[in-house]
Protein backbone atom coordinates (compact mmCIF):
# COMPACT_ATOMS: atom_id res chain seq x y z
CA UNK A 1 0.00 0.00 0.00
CA UNK A 2 1.19 3.52 -0.59
CA UNK A 3 2.68 5.18 2.46
CA UNK A 4 1.79 8.78 3.14
CA UNK A 5 2.70 9.79 -0.32
CA UNK A 6 3.13 13.57 -0.41
CA UNK A 7 -0.45 14.51 -0.89
CA UNK A 8 -0.09 17.07 -3.59
CA UNK A 9 1.54 14.76 -6.04
CA UNK A 10 -1.61 13.04 -7.20
CA UNK A 11 -3.42 16.31 -7.10
CA UNK A 12 -0.90 17.71 -9.54
CA UNK A 13 -1.45 14.79 -11.85
CA UNK A 14 -5.21 15.03 -11.63
CA UNK A 15 -5.17 18.77 -12.15
CA UNK A 16 -2.91 18.41 -15.18
CA UNK A 17 -5.20 15.77 -16.61
CA UNK A 18 -8.21 17.91 -15.98
CA UNK A 19 -6.50 20.99 -17.42
CA UNK A 20 -5.51 19.10 -20.55
CA UNK A 21 -9.01 17.72 -20.91
CA UNK A 22 -10.51 21.15 -20.49
CA UNK A 23 -8.07 22.70 -22.91
CA UNK A 24 -8.84 20.08 -25.53
CA UNK A 25 -12.51 20.51 -24.81
CA UNK A 26 -12.27 24.22 -25.55
CA UNK A 27 -9.86 24.14 -28.43
CA UNK A 28 -10.48 21.14 -30.57
CA UNK A 29 -12.99 21.48 -33.34
CA UNK A 30 -13.63 17.83 -33.99
CA UNK A 31 -16.64 16.67 -32.00
CA UNK A 32 -15.18 13.23 -31.32
CA UNK A 33 -11.98 14.65 -29.90
CA UNK A 34 -14.00 16.99 -27.75
CA UNK A 35 -15.89 14.04 -26.32
CA UNK A 36 -12.64 12.23 -25.68
CA UNK A 37 -11.29 15.23 -23.80
CA UNK A 38 -14.47 15.14 -21.79
CA UNK A 39 -13.68 11.53 -20.87
CA UNK A 40 -10.25 12.67 -19.85
CA UNK A 41 -11.70 15.25 -17.48
CA UNK A 42 -13.96 12.64 -15.93
CA UNK A 43 -11.04 10.33 -15.38
CA UNK A 44 -9.09 13.09 -13.70
CA UNK A 45 -11.97 13.39 -11.27
CA UNK A 46 -12.00 9.64 -10.78
CA UNK A 47 -8.31 9.68 -10.01
CA UNK A 48 -8.78 12.19 -7.24
CA UNK A 49 -11.74 10.27 -5.88
CA UNK A 50 -9.89 7.00 -5.77
CA UNK A 51 -6.75 8.50 -4.31
CA UNK A 52 -8.57 10.32 -1.52
CA UNK A 53 -10.91 7.44 -0.71
CA UNK A 54 -7.99 5.06 -0.43
CA UNK A 55 -6.00 7.57 1.59
CA UNK A 56 -8.80 8.13 4.07
CA UNK A 57 -9.86 4.50 4.08
CA UNK A 58 -13.48 5.22 3.25
CA UNK A 59 -14.76 3.00 0.43
CA UNK A 60 -17.42 5.57 -0.62
CA UNK A 61 -15.01 7.19 -3.06
CA UNK A 62 -14.65 3.95 -4.96
CA UNK A 63 -18.41 3.52 -5.14
CA UNK A 64 -18.61 7.02 -6.53
CA UNK A 65 -16.09 6.10 -9.18
CA UNK A 66 -18.17 3.07 -10.18
CA UNK A 67 -21.19 5.27 -10.62
CA UNK A 68 -19.15 7.89 -12.46
CA UNK A 69 -17.89 5.30 -14.90
CA UNK A 70 -21.38 3.98 -15.70
CA UNK A 71 -22.75 7.46 -16.17
CA UNK A 72 -19.74 8.36 -18.31
CA UNK A 73 -20.45 5.34 -20.48
CA UNK A 74 -24.05 6.49 -20.86
CA UNK A 75 -22.89 10.01 -21.62
CA UNK A 76 -20.52 8.89 -24.32
CA UNK A 77 -23.21 6.78 -25.91
CA UNK A 78 -25.62 9.71 -26.08
CA UNK A 79 -22.83 12.07 -27.16
CA UNK A 80 -21.83 9.85 -30.01
CA UNK A 81 -25.47 9.40 -30.97
CA UNK A 82 -25.80 13.12 -31.29
CA UNK A 83 -22.53 13.43 -33.17
CA UNK A 84 -23.82 10.77 -35.52
CA UNK A 85 -26.94 12.79 -36.18
CA UNK A 86 -24.91 15.97 -36.60
CA UNK A 87 -22.80 14.14 -39.09
CA UNK A 88 -25.92 13.04 -40.95
CA UNK A 89 -27.11 16.61 -40.93
CA UNK A 90 -24.08 18.44 -42.15
CA UNK A 91 -21.70 15.82 -43.53
CA UNK A 92 -19.07 17.06 -41.12
CA UNK A 93 -18.28 16.90 -37.45
CA UNK A 94 -16.57 20.26 -37.24
CA UNK A 95 -18.18 22.03 -34.38
CA UNK A 96 -17.84 25.35 -36.11
CA UNK A 97 -20.15 24.18 -38.85
CA UNK A 98 -23.06 24.16 -36.48
CA UNK A 99 -23.69 27.93 -36.13
CA UNK A 100 -27.42 28.03 -36.71
CA UNK A 101 -28.05 29.54 -33.30
CA UNK A 102 -25.86 32.48 -34.11
CA UNK A 103 -26.96 35.70 -32.42
Amino acid sequence: MMEAQPIYWTHYVATCLFALGLLGFLIRKNAITVLMCLELMLNAANLILVELSMRTGTPDGIIMVVFVITVAAAEVAVGLGIVLNLYRLKETVELDAFKSLQG
Binding site: M2, G21, T33, N46, M54, T58, P59, A73, V76
Partner: protein, 171 residues
Protein backbone atom coordinates in the same frame (compact mmCIF):
# COMPACT_ATOMS: atom_id res chain seq x y z
CA UNK B 1 10.95 1.96 -5.47
CA UNK B 2 7.20 2.58 -5.33
CA UNK B 3 7.56 6.33 -5.74
CA UNK B 4 9.60 5.69 -8.85
CA UNK B 5 6.82 3.60 -10.38
CA UNK B 6 4.29 6.15 -9.22
CA UNK B 7 6.11 9.04 -10.85
CA UNK B 8 6.70 7.05 -14.00
CA UNK B 9 3.05 6.14 -14.40
CA UNK B 10 1.88 9.67 -13.62
CA UNK B 11 4.15 11.18 -16.24
CA UNK B 12 3.11 8.44 -18.65
CA UNK B 13 -0.58 9.25 -18.16
CA UNK B 14 -0.05 12.99 -18.57
CA UNK B 15 1.98 12.41 -21.73
CA UNK B 16 -0.81 10.20 -23.10
CA UNK B 17 -3.40 12.83 -22.21
CA UNK B 18 -1.33 15.42 -24.01
CA UNK B 19 -1.33 13.07 -26.97
CA UNK B 20 -5.11 12.95 -26.90
CA UNK B 21 -5.36 16.72 -27.06
CA UNK B 22 -2.66 17.41 -29.57
CA UNK B 23 -3.20 14.46 -31.94
CA UNK B 24 -4.00 15.58 -35.44
CA UNK B 25 -6.10 12.59 -36.24
CA UNK B 26 -9.01 11.48 -34.01
CA UNK B 27 -7.82 7.87 -34.29
CA UNK B 28 -4.45 8.78 -32.87
CA UNK B 29 -6.11 10.69 -30.07
CA UNK B 30 -8.28 7.62 -29.39
CA UNK B 31 -5.19 5.49 -29.26
CA UNK B 32 -3.41 7.81 -26.85
CA UNK B 33 -6.61 7.90 -24.80
CA UNK B 34 -6.31 4.11 -24.39
CA UNK B 35 -2.70 4.49 -23.29
CA UNK B 36 -3.66 7.15 -20.73
CA UNK B 37 -6.36 4.85 -19.37
CA UNK B 38 -3.71 2.15 -18.92
CA UNK B 39 -1.60 4.60 -16.97
CA UNK B 40 -4.60 5.59 -14.86
CA UNK B 41 -5.54 2.02 -14.03
CA UNK B 42 -1.91 1.42 -13.08
CA UNK B 43 -2.19 4.37 -10.67
CA UNK B 44 -5.43 2.99 -9.23
CA UNK B 45 -3.83 -0.40 -8.69
CA UNK B 46 -0.80 1.22 -7.08
CA UNK B 47 -3.16 3.01 -4.73
CA UNK B 48 -4.61 -0.39 -3.86
CA UNK B 49 -7.93 0.00 -5.61
CA UNK B 50 -7.38 -3.07 -7.80
CA UNK B 51 -11.06 -3.51 -8.48
CA UNK B 52 -11.40 -0.04 -9.91
CA UNK B 53 -8.24 -0.48 -11.96
CA UNK B 54 -9.70 -3.56 -13.61
CA UNK B 55 -13.11 -1.94 -14.04
CA UNK B 56 -11.37 1.04 -15.62
CA UNK B 57 -9.79 -1.12 -18.28
CA UNK B 58 -12.75 -3.42 -18.71
CA UNK B 59 -15.37 -0.71 -19.03
CA UNK B 60 -13.55 2.35 -20.21
CA UNK B 61 -10.93 0.99 -22.50
CA UNK B 62 -12.82 -2.12 -23.46
CA UNK B 63 -16.14 -0.52 -24.23
CA UNK B 64 -16.23 3.26 -24.34
CA UNK B 65 -13.10 3.86 -26.41
CA UNK B 66 -14.23 1.08 -28.71
CA UNK B 67 -17.36 3.10 -29.26
CA UNK B 68 -15.21 6.08 -30.16
CA UNK B 69 -13.09 4.08 -32.55
CA UNK B 70 -16.22 2.58 -34.10
CA UNK B 71 -17.73 5.97 -34.74
CA UNK B 72 -14.49 7.40 -36.05
CA UNK B 73 -14.08 4.53 -38.44
CA UNK B 74 -17.68 4.32 -39.55
CA UNK B 75 -17.88 8.01 -40.28
CA UNK B 76 -14.45 7.85 -41.87
CA UNK B 77 -13.36 10.94 -40.00
CA UNK B 78 -9.84 9.71 -39.72
CA UNK B 79 -8.92 11.01 -43.12
CA UNK B 80 -9.68 14.56 -42.13
CA UNK B 81 -6.17 15.46 -41.31
CA UNK B 82 -5.92 18.49 -39.23
CA UNK B 83 -8.64 20.52 -37.74
CA UNK B 84 -6.67 21.95 -34.99
CA UNK B 85 -8.54 24.72 -33.43
CA UNK B 86 -9.90 28.22 -33.61
CA UNK B 87 -7.92 31.34 -34.08
CA UNK B 88 -4.72 31.82 -32.19
CA UNK B 89 -6.37 34.27 -29.87
CA UNK B 90 -8.95 31.83 -28.58
CA UNK B 91 -6.29 29.23 -28.05
CA UNK B 92 -4.18 31.63 -26.03
CA UNK B 93 -7.07 32.88 -23.95
CA UNK B 94 -8.31 29.40 -23.21
CA UNK B 95 -4.81 28.27 -22.30
CA UNK B 96 -4.47 31.09 -19.83
CA UNK B 97 -7.96 30.52 -18.46
CA UNK B 98 -7.29 26.78 -18.02
CA UNK B 99 -3.95 27.49 -16.40
CA UNK B 100 -5.52 29.90 -13.98
CA UNK B 101 -8.33 27.47 -13.30
CA UNK B 102 -5.95 24.65 -12.49
CA UNK B 103 -4.03 26.96 -10.17
CA UNK B 104 -7.21 27.70 -8.29
CA UNK B 105 -8.10 24.01 -8.18
CA UNK B 106 -4.72 23.13 -6.81
CA UNK B 107 -5.02 25.89 -4.31
CA UNK B 108 -8.28 24.46 -3.02
CA UNK B 109 -7.07 20.87 -3.06
CA UNK B 110 -3.97 21.60 -1.07
CA UNK B 111 -5.85 23.59 1.45
CA UNK B 112 -8.71 21.22 2.08
CA UNK B 113 -8.00 19.62 5.44
CA UNK B 114 -8.02 15.87 5.16
CA UNK B 115 -10.11 13.70 7.37
CA UNK B 116 -7.87 11.81 9.69
CA UNK B 117 -5.94 9.44 7.45
CA UNK B 118 -7.44 6.24 8.79
CA UNK B 119 -5.80 2.92 8.05
CA UNK B 120 -5.95 2.28 4.34
CA UNK B 121 -8.43 -0.33 3.17
CA UNK B 122 -7.14 -3.66 4.46
CA UNK B 123 -8.88 -6.54 2.77
CA UNK B 124 -9.52 -6.69 -0.94
CA UNK B 125 -11.82 -3.90 -1.70
CA UNK B 126 -13.78 -5.82 -4.27
CA UNK B 127 -15.59 -7.64 -1.47
CA UNK B 128 -16.04 -4.48 0.53
CA UNK B 129 -17.31 -2.52 -2.45
CA UNK B 130 -19.77 -5.17 -3.48
CA UNK B 131 -21.07 -5.35 0.12
CA UNK B 132 -21.50 -1.60 0.28
CA UNK B 133 -22.96 -1.45 -3.16
CA UNK B 134 -25.81 -3.71 -2.16
CA UNK B 135 -26.43 -2.41 1.30
CA UNK B 136 -25.80 1.28 1.75
CA UNK B 137 -25.89 2.33 -1.90
CA UNK B 138 -28.69 0.07 -3.04
CA UNK B 139 -30.93 2.90 -4.12
CA UNK B 140 -28.46 4.63 -6.44
CA UNK B 141 -27.55 1.25 -7.86
CA UNK B 142 -31.18 0.47 -8.75
CA UNK B 143 -31.78 3.91 -10.13
CA UNK B 144 -28.65 3.56 -12.20
CA UNK B 145 -29.92 0.36 -13.73
CA UNK B 146 -33.20 2.02 -14.71
CA UNK B 147 -31.18 4.94 -16.03
CA UNK B 148 -29.18 2.63 -18.26
CA UNK B 149 -32.38 1.03 -19.54
CA UNK B 150 -33.77 4.45 -20.46
CA UNK B 151 -30.43 5.21 -22.06
CA UNK B 152 -30.58 2.23 -24.36
CA UNK B 153 -34.06 3.21 -25.56
CA UNK B 154 -32.90 6.81 -26.05
CA UNK B 155 -29.89 5.76 -28.06
CA UNK B 156 -31.99 3.61 -30.32
CA UNK B 157 -34.49 6.41 -30.84
CA UNK B 158 -31.68 8.84 -31.48
CA UNK B 159 -29.98 6.86 -34.15
CA UNK B 160 -32.85 5.05 -35.78
CA UNK B 161 -31.92 4.12 -39.31
CA UNK B 162 -35.33 4.86 -40.87
CA UNK B 163 -35.61 8.22 -39.13
CA UNK B 164 -32.32 9.10 -40.74
CA UNK B 165 -33.84 9.04 -44.21
CA UNK B 166 -36.37 11.63 -43.17
CA UNK B 167 -33.61 13.94 -42.06
CA UNK B 168 -32.14 14.07 -45.49
CA UNK B 169 -28.58 15.18 -45.47
CA UNK B 170 -28.65 18.69 -46.73
CA UNK B 171 -25.46 20.65 -47.25
Amino acid sequence: MKELFFIFFSLYTIAAALGVVLAKNPVYSAFSLILSFFGLSALYVMWGATFIGMIQILVYTGAIVVLFVFVVMLLDLGSVVTDHSHSWLTVMVSAIAVWFFSLLMLRTFNHTPLVAPATPLAESNTRLISQLLFTEYLWPFEILSIFLLALIIAIYALTRPDAADKRKVHP
